[in-house]
Point group: C2
Chain length 216, copies 2
Amino acid sequence: MFSETSMTTSSTPLPSSRLYSFVGGRIGQRWPSPSNGPRSFEGSWRIESIQQVIGESLPPAARLAVLGHAASLPTSEAIWSLHGVTSNERYVLNEEKTILSAKQEGLGRPESSRAALIPIRKHAEWWALAQDARRQVFEEQSHHVALGLHVLPAVARRLHHCRDIGTQEPFDFLTWFEYAQSDAALFEELVKTMRATPEWHYVEREVDIRLVRDDR
Amino acid sequence: MFSETSMTTSSTPLPSSRLYSFVGGRIGQRWPSPSNGPRSFEGSWRIESIQQVIGESLPPAARLAVLGHAASLPTSEAIWSLHGVTSNERYVLNEEKTILSAKQEGLGRPESSRAALIPIRKHAEWWALAQDARRQVFEEQSHHVALGLHVLPAVARRLHHCRDIGTQEPFDFLTWFEYAQSDAALFEELVKTMRATPEWHYVEREVDIRLVRDDR
C-alpha cells in the first residue's frame, strides 16, 4: 500500500516480510508451490477440528496451509484466509524476555506433529485501556507470560497481530502453537487455564483449530 | 486481505476504518471527491516545505491530501503515498491518559491553519527492546508524554502506525499535528526538544513536512 516514486506509474505494493497467511482449504487441495512468487511455504496441515470457543466459528475446512511473506492467495484456492504480522512484544518485560528467550524453542521441530491455530478478537474495552491497565490484567492478574513459560520448551509459539494490518480482519491475534503428541495433555491444560483468567473476560471471539502435520 | 466465505468467489479486501492515507501531489492536483467510494476526504493542504531530518527525504510535492478510510489511491494521482492506522496507546499509563484526554482538543479546529506531517522510522534495536525498556526511554528518559502535554491544547495530534500494516511501508509512524499560526513558535520548540531526547537516538529516518491549510 505504499508507493514512493517521482514518476506516476502504478506499482504493486509488496507484502511485509513479517506477514503470514493461514489458509483453510478442501480435501485434496493443491496449494501453490513454494517457488510461486514471493511466498514461502511453511507447511501443510490436516485440520482435525475447528471448535467455536467464543462467538462465531469459522467455516469447515479440511486442510490448512501456512504461508510466509504472502500478501494474499487467490481466494479461489481458499475457503477462508487469515492474515497477521509478527511484531515487537507489547507486554513482556526485559527480565521476562531474557527467561523466555533462554527456554523457548523454534517452530518446525521434527517431533512437533501437532499444532493449534487459535484466532482471537478482544473487546473494544480492552483496546481503550491504557498500557499499564492492560499489562496489569495480562500478567499481574492473569499470569499470561508465566503460564506460557510453564510449558516451555514443549510448546513452541508464534504470535501474529492482525488488528493494525490496514484491512478489515476478523481477529486481533492469530496464535500458532506446535507440540509433540506426548505433550498434548500439557497443551490442553495451558489452553484451559488461560481461558479461566481475567484476561479472557475481554475476549469476544475465539476459534480453536487443531491440526496434524501432513507435509506429503 | 481477509476473505471468509464458504464459496470460492473472489472478493475485494476492505480497508480498515482506522486507515489513513497522506498523498503528496502536484500543483493543481485534482483529488478524488469525498463521494468517490469509501474514502472520506479530510482536507487538502499546501506543502510549504519538506525537510530531511534524518536519513532519506521524500520527493518534492506541492500539495497534500489527507484521506480517511482509504485502502489506496491510484498511483497516477500521487507523487508519494504514506499509509498508517490509528491504534491503541502503547506507552501511556492510565493516569497520563486521563490528563491527556482532559487537556487535548480534536483536529479540524477553524484556527488550525498550520499542520505538520512527521514520518519517522525507528531502528531495529528499538523494536528488539522489551516493553519496559522502551517505556523507560520513551518517558522516564525522554519525557515524551510530558512534552506533548506541555503544548496542549494548542497542538492537536493524531498518531498513525505503519509498522504492522501488512505491506512494506517506509516509516513506522506518521504523526500529524495541527496548530494556529500564533502557536507556531511553541510547536517549533516542541519538535526541537523532542529531537534532543534519548528516544531520538533510535530514530533512523525522519522527514518534516510543513503545511498550510488550503481547502478551496
